[in-house]
């Protein structure tokens, strides 16, 4: 589904190279965990995949379902099924959450040549998905993420993910700022979306999240490259030995 080859990325503003020859391939149905220390390029990778400006790809390619992902703008990527669950979802004053959700769902349906959702159908879907994630429906009457706690914001991200039914989900440190209970709810939400036709990339510092969302593959990112790949046992190894040993051994 996703094929990243020899990717080099720098920050547009100051030219600092962050990703330095990254190779990664993720198959449909696979849950891939990307772990790495601070500053290794994890968040940059998630931004480059979703198409954020401010980053410049200087070399390499990203192919998504046979398509050159770098050719598409942010909205086109999302419409093509790429979903980024933000590490820090922004609060957008004045934009009602329900208006936002409806606009997003319909934009993607339109892209796929489907009819727009009727209002009752839309509300029904949102109610059901919110119930699964234990989100108070009244919260969705507020502007996007405004006044949400850290945990509520993360749950709202997963809510969007389940409503938009993406093909490639990227979870950027979704566990940060979550207490144990919220972690469980969010993980259940993600597990519920596991599907043979869907790939999930879980970006995290800690092995803890991977107890709940059990990955098929684990990749260690260090200094802009994948330095080691393995199965879920690699995550436990990292937890025990720390990044330094593994990275040193891989170098």
């Amino acid at each position: 589904m996703l094929e990243i080859k020899n990717l080099h990325v720098r920050i547009e503003e100051d030219g600092t190279e962050i990703i330095k020859g990254l190779n990664l391939s993720v198959a449909a149905g696979e849950v891939a965990a990307i772990m790495g220390p601070n500053g290794s390029g994890k968040s940059t990778l998630s931004y480059v995949l979703s198409g954020k400006e401010d980053y410049e790809v200087t070399e390499g390619s990203i192919t998504y379902n046979g398509q050159d992902l770098l050719e598409l703008d942010v909205a086109e990527r999302a419409a093509a099924g790429v979903f980024l669950a933000f590490q820090y979802p922004v609060e957008i004053p004045g934009v009602p959450t329900m208006t936002f959700l409806k606009e997003a769902m319909n934009a993607q349906r339109k892209e796929r040549g489907e009819d727009e959702l009727t209002t009752p159908d839309f509300i029904k879907r949102v109610r059901a998905a919110a119930g699964d994630l234990k989100i108070d429906f009244n919260m969705l009457k507020r502007p996007v993420n405004v006044g949400f706690s850290g945990g509520e914001k993360k749950r709202a991200e997963i809510l969007q993910m389940s409503l938009l039914e993406p093909k490639l989900c990227i979870l950027d440190e979704t566990d940060s700022g979550l207490d144990i209970d919220a972690l469980k709810i969010v993980s259940d939400g993600v597990n519920h979306l596991r599907d043979p036709n869907r790939a999930v990339i879980v970006i995290t510092h800690y092995q803890r999240l991977l107890d709940h969302i059990v990955p098929d593959t684990v990749h260690v990112l260090s200094d802009g490259k994948i330095v080691k790949s393995g199965d879920k046992t690699l995550a436990h190894e990292l937890e025990e030995k720390g990044y330094a040993d593994i990275i040193a051994a891989a170098a």
């Binding site: 942010v74 909205a75 999302a78 004045g94 606009e103």
Partner: protein, 421 residues
């Protein structure tokens, strides 16, 4: 000895003087106004109140006074602009002329379809007021009875019917008697791609204990030139809730003057200016607090794009007697293109020593992180921009109590965005 060289009149000035002579609708007052216009000339940027709107350079020549259109035309043009408030009682003007379409005036209100006297205050007769005094064809006085609480919205609607290069001028007086409550919608519309000059003066007098909610929706055609003024006198314990939407016109000069003359009165002013294409929209506001213990809140949200130029001049005068005045003014602007600009000028003149006056102005582009978030959910760049612009202005529009009116105004904002964003 100095030789007095007569100033050479500009084409626009000559054309106004000739249009006045040709119309033949004269009176001592009108003559005096046109003579003063001739003497002073149209204001340039050297006149402080017109610093950002050089009328001598901007006002076009070649206007003649509009004739009364046929009843048929008056109705067909009106039908192109669906009402903002269903169930309102509306008084209609076309090209400056009054048309009685037989709408019932609600109980507690009276309409007198005669041109009200021009209130030319000494030294306050700028070009906007002079042109209206000289050219006003028709007008009316709307009186709200003492103690009347009128639920039905009363509309004052003006439309230009599309004869190019014509002047349409009207004058309204609104007198809200003591302890009355009324809701009024003033609307100015015109056809696209027709150049015309629209002149409008509204004198609003709010007596003791009265509350007026006034919404002004200014939707002139894209080539229209509009010179307009609202004069407000606010009495003791009176309240004015005013909302202004500017969503059209090539040149719009909207003056809003408030004389706060009664204690414990409250002035709530808000507005949205949408400035796109080649539009030049100037809102010049002057609030004078004459007495102690009054409150004024003023907020304008502006969106400029294309080659649009926007102006907000906000003057607050606190006279020496006006102790404990609480006046707040904010002007927030989104600048969306490289070629648009916006000038914001606060002017505070405070002679009382125990007052609170605050003013603030902000200018920004759309927040990039918001754009990324919305687009990352599949919303196109254009729609994401529209959502954020809407959010920026909706906050102000949604303070209007009448939900139907809010929806109608937001629909006008959407139409503007479809064209300009």
């Amino acid at each position: 000895m100095t030789a007095h060289t007569p100033r050479i009149l500009t084409d626009a000035e000559t054309s106004l003087i000739e249009a006045y002579a040709a119309a033949g609708n004269t009176s001592a007052e009108r003559d005096a106004a046109i003579a003063k216009l001739k003497d002073d000339g149209l204001p340039t940027r050297r006149v402080e109140a017109f610093h950002y709107t050089d009328l001598r350079a901007l006002l076009k020549a070649g206007y003649t006074v509009a004739a009364r259109p046929s009843d048929d035309l008056a109705k067909t043009v009106g039908a192109k602009f669906p009402r903002l408030v269903t169930g309102a009682s509306v008084q209609h003007f076309r090209d400056g002329h009054f048309f009685d379409f037989g709408e019932d005036v609600p109980k507690g209100a009276t309409v007198t379809a005669e041109l009200p006297t021009a209130k030319l205050l000494e030294g306050d007769a700028d070009a906007t007021a002079l042109i209206n005094t000289a050219f006003a064809q028709d007008g009316l006085t709307l009186s709200i009875d003492e103690g009347a609480e009128i639920e039905q919205t009363i509309g004052l609607a003006y439309a230009h019917t599309g004869t190019a290069n014509t002047i349409a001028a009207q004058r309204f007086a609104i007198n809200a008697a003591a302890n009355s409550k009324s809701t009024i919608v003033y609307r100015a519309v015109g056809l696209e791609d027709v150049q015309y000059l629209s002149s409008s003066v509204v004198d609003l007098d709010i007596a003791e204990g009265a509350t007026v909610t006034l919404t002004m929706s200014i939707e002139e055609g894209n080539l229209a030139q509009r010179l307009a003024r609202l004069n407000v006198s606010l009495g003791k314990e009176a309240v004015l809730n005013l909302f202004i939407l500017n969503v059209g016109g090539k040149l719009v000069r909207q003056e809003v003057n408030f004389d706060v003359v009664g204690e414990n009165s409250e002035l709530n002013i808000s507005g949205v200016n949408l400035i796109g294409g080649e539009a030049h929209i100037d809102v010049t506001s002057r609030i004078t607090h004459h007495v102690p213990n009054t409150v004024a809140n003023e907020t304008f949200r502006n969106v400029a794009t294309g080659r649009g130029r926007g102006v907000f001049q906000g003057q607050i005068n606190v006279r020496q007697a006006a102790q404990l005045t609480d006046a707040r003014m904010a002007c927030n602007t989104l600048l969306l293109s490289d070629n648009c600009d916006f000038s914001a000028k606060p002017e505070l003149e405070i002679f009382a020593d125990d007052v609170q006056c605050a003013h603030g102005a902000t200018v920004t582009d759309l927040e990039e992180s918001y754009m990324f978030y919305l687009m990352a959910r599949g919303i196109s760049e254009t729609n994401a921009r529209r959502m954020l612009i809407k959010a920026f202005v909706a906050e102000i529009v949604e303070e209007i109590e009448d939900e139907g009116l809010v929806e109608a105004l937001e629909a006008r904002i959407d139409t503007w965005m479809e064209k300009h964003v």
